[in-house]
Symmetry: C2
Subunit: 200 residues, 2 copies
């Protein structure tokens, strides 16, 4: 089995959510695993000097239309949330705490968070709500509640974000296949070609 | 036959060039014509407050890689030119002068300009070079040379650009199918679905 695909994302990024619903199946088709790594996209925006898509004149209204249309195109359940953007550090830290404990359901946690926000419009930036989503999905809210404030977990999220930026990440999803970076859910067809042919 | 697809582009936009090599065949498959309309992308960038992709930190280096990779993905001949960006108003005005005369080879002129720049790296911002490309493609350089300075032709390009921005254009290619706007060569699969299904 070849090296895992690296999938950098922010829980608050709509195109990251779309990719999250598609990437594992695509990778499995070519015998690849996927490493999921939530990061803080705001840090990358700051580095690149870019701003939130929906705040850009002309591009903003188009983007809102494209989010929903792209979801329909991919057959992914999607509803643009009332609160956008929002902070995702609690959810991302909870993710890394599960990963640090090698919890076999870490991936399920990520899906639950993504869907709570992008389908049900729940405010996952609020710690109690994030923990409620975790509880509903079968995770130990108490353990996660402690983990999200642990220095080593905070540091892990910072380090993963820095590492992603060091590898060129400026937007999300940012997907690396055998060293080749792909930005955006709309690059999945190129990723598939890359996996099928070993590069083109 | 349904309404023509509207294809707004700038000769200096790499993704516009990629779309220019693909859009007519795609449209024909669904019995559609395409109206090609060069515009001044700089005016849209000004309106949206955005800057040239390659000048954005992190995003710039990625974009250069993505231009070439996307060209290979689509099987389109492509070589990033030494001079980029460059002014395209002469080429765009020449295009509209041919269109105003209902020249049946207006489309061929556009292809020749795109390829002169994106395959052969010729500096189409220079009037003599743009005219040379036109001559080589069988057009009357003298007539085009006069046309590019005619007030009504200059005004046509301004008006087309304004109209595109009024319709939400902020980047190129910007392709409108039955009122639905699509931005980017990477939206061609969505355009195809739209054409096949009448919207989704």
């Amino acid at each position: 089995m070849s090296a895992a695909i690296e999938f950098y994302f922010d829980f608050s990024s709509p195109y990251s959510y779309l990719a999250s619903e598609l990437i594992d199946e695509l990778a499995a088709k070519y015998g690849r695993a996927v490493e999921w790594r939530p990061i803080m996209l705001g840090a990358a925006f700051q580095k690149a000097g870019t701003q939130l898509l929906i705040n850009v004149p002309l591009k903003g209204p188009y983007s809102l239309r494209d989010f929903s249309r792209s979801a329909r195109f991919y057959g992914v359940n999607f509803k643009f949330p009332q609160k956008f953007p929002l902070a995702t550090h609690y959810a991302a830290r909870a993710y890394y705490s599960l990963m640090a404990r090698s919890d076999p359901r870490t991936r399920e946690f990520a899906h639950a968070i993504f869907r709570a926000y992008w389908v049900d419009g729940r405010d996952i930036s609020e710690l109690p709500i994030m923990l409620k989503v975790a509880t509903e999905t079968g995770f130990d809210a108490q353990a996660l509640s402690e983990a999200v404030n642990m220095p080593e977990i905070k540091e892990r999220l910072r380090a993963e974000t820095e590492a992603a930026i060091a590898r060129g990440m400026f937007g999300a999803p940012y997907i690396i296949v055998d060293g080749e970076p792909f930005w955006g859910a709309d690059r999945l067809p190129q990723i598939e070609r890359w996996l099928a042919t070993g590069g083109f």
